[in-house]
Subunit: 295 residues, 2 copies
């Protein structure tokens, strides 16, 4: 099977899981559930949940648990962060994945509540999906809540916002933002896949380390694309970083240096992921592909 | 020890737990952590976390776990829901517990992120506080995420908002809103106390049932106070339900009937809580006191 087909199969599995694990729009509150589904079913690369599945596949330990629920939980947290990030008081964006953002398709209050509900659902899924393995549930909740919390994802978003409002970001400040806003969740996705498969702690730590490098590369490529691509190709508003005076690797280091750092981080990620057991081809091809993406 | 002193001791214990379990403002992102602490340390009745402690105390089973972390987690979720509820796109309120609301004291984006971070922290606390009992962590996460999720707390808020915007609420619709917006979290608080203490499942279910009645009484008293009290006494804007055309027990049933239903729910709560083992005096006095409160 070639890489594109392997990717397609995993994305399809994630989307089936999303459809199954989200409450139906027919159940009250129908409007809230419709908004949750609207945002979760808007497509997108499904990078984080695919990473959960791919990391889990490296370890075919007996007694490993199905990583699909963990994959859906990670996508719930990622989607909630986008929904809240798009709100008028944050980035005030009207386009996401080529469609109106949640607060444009519904309204601001509904988008706020749908984001809250997706974040909560992530933990409800993790607590409920592994009834025979409470230790697995607890470890997954700890990993995801840590990565999504005030010291990581939300802390990175807060500092990003502060940088946007005032002083020019330093390279160190920018690295803090990218490592927390983006890389922490990608590291957690890989770690959660390993945890589901019962990977030993040092392997889970290797997954986290590879994920941090991959996440950094991913975010820098995002910065480069925002500066060099157009809205139709991206499926979201292009050029908005510069317009917002946002701190990016392009604004702080320049375009060529940003491209070089992205390449170095990506190579470092691949080198770390190759240390893992099993067939790492899918994971390393995915990591390499992120560098050459156009959206 | 009289009731007031017993209550004061439990509130003090909750506040010590909050101070210990919230990230310090000196840790990045400092602004985010300051906003989280601002909202969590605004005082308030601490009803939900005190209920966690009080329910736990009924069962002095050997091997029971310290309920304080669970109590703080419940207060984190309650506070996040208030911070988001006060935002301009929701109730747009500028006063809470006698102080400026989070988005007035900081700004809208910071309040949004602080709310997100408090919700996430609740689950991080539950996953981390009981390392020797992953089954306890998983059960507490399931209970709290269920009560705070789209079928309960957030679903109730969404339907409340819809009722506010348009058609007159039916008694059944209003009951759905109050049971989910308010009673679900109070029921979960009591259940989580029991779960920490290792209470058997039928006792946890009795705690939930008593909590639902107590929560309903509490919300109806809130409706009555909003219609009859003043802003200085309440510490939050009075009369705003009627102004917003909000569905309340007063607007749907009238003031006298609302008072009667609150009394009946409160009596029902006390009767259910008396079925529990141990010294239920503190819990039933607390429940009775909620009916006579002025703020």
């Amino acid at each position: 099977m070639d890489f594109a087909e392997a990717l397609r199969l995993r994305v399809a599995r994630v989307e089936e899981g999303i459809d199954r694990l989200l409450p139906p729009s027919t159940e009250p509150s129908g409007r809230l559930h419709a908004a949750m589904r609207y945002s979760m079913q808007a497509g997108g690369k499904r990078l984080r949940p695919v990473l959960v599945l791919a990391a889990s596949e490296l370890f075919d330990a007996p007694g490993g648990a199905d990583p699909l629920a963990a994959a859906v939980a990670v996508e719930c947290v990622h989607t909630y962060s986008l929904v809240h990030d798009d709100l008028p008081c944050m980035d005030n964006d009207s386009l996401r994945r080529g469609r109106p953002t949640a607060h444009k398709a519904f309204d601001e209050a509904t988008a706020l509540l749908a984001g809250d509900a997706l974040l909560t659902l992530a933990f409800e899924i993790l607590a409920g999906a592994y009834p025979g393995s409470p230790a697995l549930s607890a470890a997954l909740v700890a990993e995801l809540a840590g990565a999504a919390g005030s010291r990581r994802l939300i802390g990175g978003q807060m500092e990003d916002l502060i940088a946007e409002r005032g002083a020019k970001a330093t390279p160190e400040g920018l690295r803090f933002i990218h490592e927390n806003k983006t890389a922490a969740m990608i590291a957690a996705a890989l770690a959660m896949g390993g945890i589901c498969a019962g990977a030993p702690d040092p392997m889970v730590e290797t997954l986290r380390a590879g994920g941090r490098q991959l996440g950094l590369a991913f975010q820098i490529v995002d910065d480069v694309l925002d500066a060099t691509s157009d809205t139709a190709t991206l499926g979201k508003t292009a050029g908005k970083d510069a317009k917002a005076g946002k701190a990016t690797y392009v604004s702080v280091h320049g375009l060529e240096a940003a491209r070089r750092i992205a390449r170095e981080s990506s190579e470092s990620a691949v080198a770390i992921l190759r240390l893992l057991p099993g067939e790492t081809g899918f994971l390393t091809t995915l990591a390499e592909g992120l560098l050459g993406r156009t959206h």
